[in-house]
Symmetry: C2
Subunit: 437 residues, 2 copies
């Protein structure tokens, strides 16, 4: 779960191509450039997944078992198998740091290495950076929609298998979520964990009020009662009675949770019930099919909701469940190369992304340039993160990445943050890169 899946986690063609490169002595250095072509419904992307990618590159080794399996396929020469046995990633990587926003067509990562090495890594790099970037980008939209209200990741039961559940918790934390229900993510990444009870808990008691009171005895400082198992407003009354008793004992009911029905109307009525019971401090949580649009709607309609649990739609990025992210050869030896396939053309050459900011600190435009170009009054986004197969330093901590995202998101002009309006951020190609084509 916590370790990279190893070198067999790849498409077979990465290995067959590598075999030809090896046999032909094609050991020249290549540059592969990774970028997102475009994505319906997304004005920006939040870079994520680099920490995993670099860990995988550094620890990339074929085990004896791996080699035995490959040998058994009858495809490869003994000489190539020996080459794989010695395989270590010896190349360099430049990347846009995690938590930084970027846009379609901009390289988010470039690998420079002997072509065999750079090729074999393709599948894993696309998989891990693509998925985490997609989820962080979805989460940023939810954070924007929540307009300051709390957000908790409730997606674990519906993520696409186990590893995704872990990566979702980390990626949404980067983009500003406050907590996750995923205990293993809490333990692995140090993310705050959150959660109290399900409907089954309430049903396991003869009546709802007893269920709440029993819970409060066990967790007097961390009780959020789920009030919709039978009838939400009656549930709120039961919660209020237990909350009042807790208050008399010097305790405090943390909140109640709505999980079905018309959240706007219910939240107002529940707020009234709690306030009338002298419990204005008790918060209202809401969960159940939320995504950025439903959060924005609830906020706009004046729902009295203090925090949202967002699950499935976030955890699978339901409206855009994949990114068209690609990893393209742009240089081999001293030859800059490009592809012409219909609808899939690529720009040749190693690149840099330059970002220009206006005097108020908001971004104006990005320029995709050639690596090594210098553009005045702009900040280069691709930074060296690995050299000769070793990471440069430990990389930022998760709280540092989260803070970096927060600062970054503040520099994106508000119009690009819209969850509905498609708006293309201005990007142009530098003169230097144009000349390379």
């Amino acid at each position: 779960m916590h370790t990279p899946p190893g070198p067999l986690f790849t498409d077979l063609y990465e290995l067959t191509m590598a075999a030809v490169y090896h046999a032909g002595g094609m050991e020249d250095s290549a540059c592969f450039s990774m970028f997102v072509r475009d994505c319906p419904g997304r004005n920006y992307f939040v870079a994520a997944g680099l920490a995993d990618a670099l860990e995988a590159l550094e620890s990339f080794r074929f085990s004896e078992e791996d080699l035995a399996y490959l040998k058994g396929q009858g495809l490869f020469t003994g000489d190539f198998i020996s080459r794989l046995e010695r395989f270590r990633f010896s190349g360099s990587v430049r990347a846009i740091p995690e938590g930084t926003l970027f846009f379609p067509e901009e390289p988010v990562l470039e690998v420079v290495a002997p072509i065999l090495e750079a090729q074999i890594l393709e599948t894993y790099l696309l998989n891990t950076i693509g998925f985490q970037t997609m989820i962080a980008s979805k989460a940023a939209r939810c954070v924007h929609a929540a307009a300051g209200r709390g957000l908790v990741d409730f997606s674990l039961r519906r993520t696409q298998a186990a590893d995704a559940g872990m990566k979702v918790a980390r990626s949404v934390c980067i983009a500003g979520f406050d907590a996750t229900s995923n205990v293993l993510a809490g333990s692995t990444y140090g993310i705050p964990i959150s959660g109290t009870m399900a409907h089954s808990y309430v049903q396991a008691f003869e009546d709802e009020e007893t269920a709440f009171a029993t819970y409060a005895e066990m967790f007097p400082d961390n009780s959020v009662f789920l009030i919709d198992t039978y009838d939400t407003l009656q549930g709120a009354e039961h919660a209020a009675r237990v909350g009042r008793r807790m208050k008399r004992q010097g305790r405090r009911l943390t909140g109640v949770r709505l999980d079905s029905g018309d959240m706007v109307t219910l939240s107002r009525k529940v707020r009234d019930i709690l306030d009338a019971a002298g419990l204005p401090e008790v918060k209202i949580y809401a969960s159940g099919s939320f995504d950025e649009w439903k959060v924005a709607e609830a906020v706009a309609a004046g729902a009295r909701i203090d925090a949202f649990g967002v699950g499935t739609a976030l955890g699978v990025s339901a409206d855009a469940p994949y990114l068209d992210i690609v990893y393209k050869l742009v240089r081999y030896g001293d030859r800059n190369v490009r592809k012409f396939s219909s609808g899939k053309a690529t720009l040749a050459g190693e690149k840099q992304v330059f970002r220009r900011t206006d005097p108020a600190g908001l971004w104006q435009e990005d320029i995709i340039g050639a690596r090594g170009e210098e553009l005045p009054d702009s900040q280069p986004l691709l930074l060296p993160v690995m050299e000769a197969g070793r990471r440069r330093g430990n990389g930022p901590s998760l709280p540092e990445i989260r803070a970096h995202f927060h600062n970054n998101f503040g520099c994106l002009p508000a119009r690009y943050k819209s969850i509905d309006r498609r708006l293309k951020y201005p990007i142009r190609i530098s003169e230097g890169l144009r000349r390379l084509q």
Copy 2:
């Protein structure tokens, strides 16, 4: 990657509820029932993921590290932590076997165990069975659409993180895919692997024909040339020249692959080029944004495609990227329980699903009954797979599950196989189950 993620892979509320059950001595046996509520665009589901689920149940143990983390949260008593230390799953499981088709509202799995045990497992069971079932169901639609043409899983780079890539390869193999590009899935599950070259390979050579010829030298019996890097028809001419040389040497070019453009027109022209070159045995593979609809369209339009590589849309089930699968308490102690939340009501009591078949061997209807009921002329689908925390036998092999799916799919009346037409398979509730409510 190959081992279950362990007991912390759960929502926090599963543990807080368990803590209350433990403190209150609530050790009565509970039954939880797992079913899919409904899914837009799906007439049927293919059960998958049970092998993983049972392995996880059998090996479910809190490690010292897990317990230290939980202790550090300051939520739980020492007594409850000790209970977790002793935790073993001691319950029983009945389930619809992998590869069997089932329908909305039908329980696909039921767990009977002390409520604390059954509760903690919820998150993992939903995650693993939900995802694999979703993918196997999507794959069955592709297999139906391909109408006998070959299908290869090309999804690895776009699956939602690493674990999903593995589960996709296994789930689509169950539903009839022939091979996967995922080498680790080949090694782990024994699935045939497939793949030859990417555009970057062709670009790494000065010209396309040299790229093909060099590949053919290395893999004389396993060459599929990717012909769209520059111009597909020219690519076909280059492939044909190399293919003819191979033929003169007593070798055989396996195929060519199209990856962009109008596949119907191109496949016909490429077929003509290959046939004119005396290479009618060379197959045409196609990849690039295929899903069940595009496969069906290509087949209907008479594309000369022998096998399809299906990637992203399959690997994330793009049109329906999550299943509304739930795990509901239906009995606690001797009390059958149900939920009334608006739009989320559940049926009380332990269940059985009975299937009736007509004299021609096609399914007529399913009846959701109470466990223990006997309905004449019908086959019960939920079978005992675990007792007292131990699996009953080793379970079927992947080829056996695949064969079982194939037989099962043959019994589904053709009208339910439509990829476009929504049609509800007839399901009713037995008298016995009705009386329980």
